[in-house]
Amino acid sequence: MTFAFAKRAPAIRVWLLAGAVAGSSVLCCAAPERKVVVGMSHCGRLSTAQREWLPSEWQPFLEYTRVCSIQNSKREAVVLLVSAWAILYYKAQPGTTVSQVDMPHPLLFSPAGAVLGSLPYNFPDDPPAELRVTFAQWEDDFPQRIDLFLTDPRAAGSRSLPPLVWDQNQRKFATKGEGSS
């Protein structure tokens, strides 16, 4: 739908692309479809209170953990994406060759600290892959879907992953079929 729209409006298409490249929110005056591609500009260090939301397995990575604030059209944070940034962790390790470690999967929180779900790969890097996260299908200023795209040099190739869909009853993001009891 976005592609068809962009084809009809070349100037807006350029604006959309520029926004995506910059990793910033993509908003358009007339477009009903709001998309937020999570970029570095959304992210920063965790507060002391936010650190306490994380289970013990995050302890070795707290120094390298960042929180990305996903904001609605009123610039209010509606979802927080917390992840251990592999690039920061590995850069901090001595030497030019580093043993790869398992890092916890990114967690999604409400601004109040309720767990809203998790991502299947680390963000923004899960070496050797990179994950692009897009908050889409906004309704009532809240994203109903999270699109995931993995850039992957391994044999499975770069690919879209099953999207996470907001379940209002469970108050969680999950892939379809996951979490339904």
Partner: protein
């Protein structure tokens, strides 16, 4: 032909296929199939070859494939990539070895990362057109897990043996 002779023939065929086709998984597997299974086998890209194997060969578990390869039977593994290039390999005879353990360069960090080992797997003959991932290049020195190097993706890899071998 004894098992040891059959294993030696499979190993030789895999080695030749690797040396000749380092840029193409489907050509490497094609060479092994032509030499040991069907000299009239047509060339197919990985996705199409997997379709043919699914129809005409017998699907086997990884453990059964490992046993068959060590009797000299050609066992092909693979996973399709819809809208892209799938990947196919041959189980290389010999004892299982640890996966991972090799390094790769992660450009964004300007560092080499050493992929951790998580278990023992059968060895692989694997070559690759893109050669972007060291796990796709194996002359029996890496495992059947390494081209995908992801437990979740590896669960989707299937293995087939020629009919009547199992």
């Amino acid at each position: 032909m004894s098992d040891s002779e059959a294993v030696a023939k499979l190993k030789d065929a895999c080695d030749r296929a690797y040396d000749k086709n380092q840029n193409s998984c489907s050509n490497a597997v094609w060479d092994v199939i032509k030499e040991l299974v069907n000299s009239g086998q047509e060339f197919l890209q990985a996705n199409e070859l997997i379709d043919q194997l699914s129809d005409d060969w017998e699907e086997v578990s990884l453990d059964d494939g490992f046993d068959l390869a060590n009797k000299g039977v050609v066992v092909v593994g693979g996973m399709q990539v819809h809208g892209g290039h799938g990947h196919v390999i041959v189980i290389y005879p010999g004892p299982k070895i640890p996966n991972g353990g090799y390094q790769y360069f992660y450009k964004k960090m300007n560092k080499y990362l050493v992929l951790k080992s998580s278990g023992l797997y059968p060895r692989a003959l694997s070559t690759s057109m893109s050669r972007n991932w060291p796990g796709t290049l194996s002359k029996g020195d890496k495992t059947v897990w390494d081209p995908w190097a992801d437990d979740e993706k590896f669960k989707q890899v299937d293995f087939w043996a020629p009919p009547g071998c199992f």
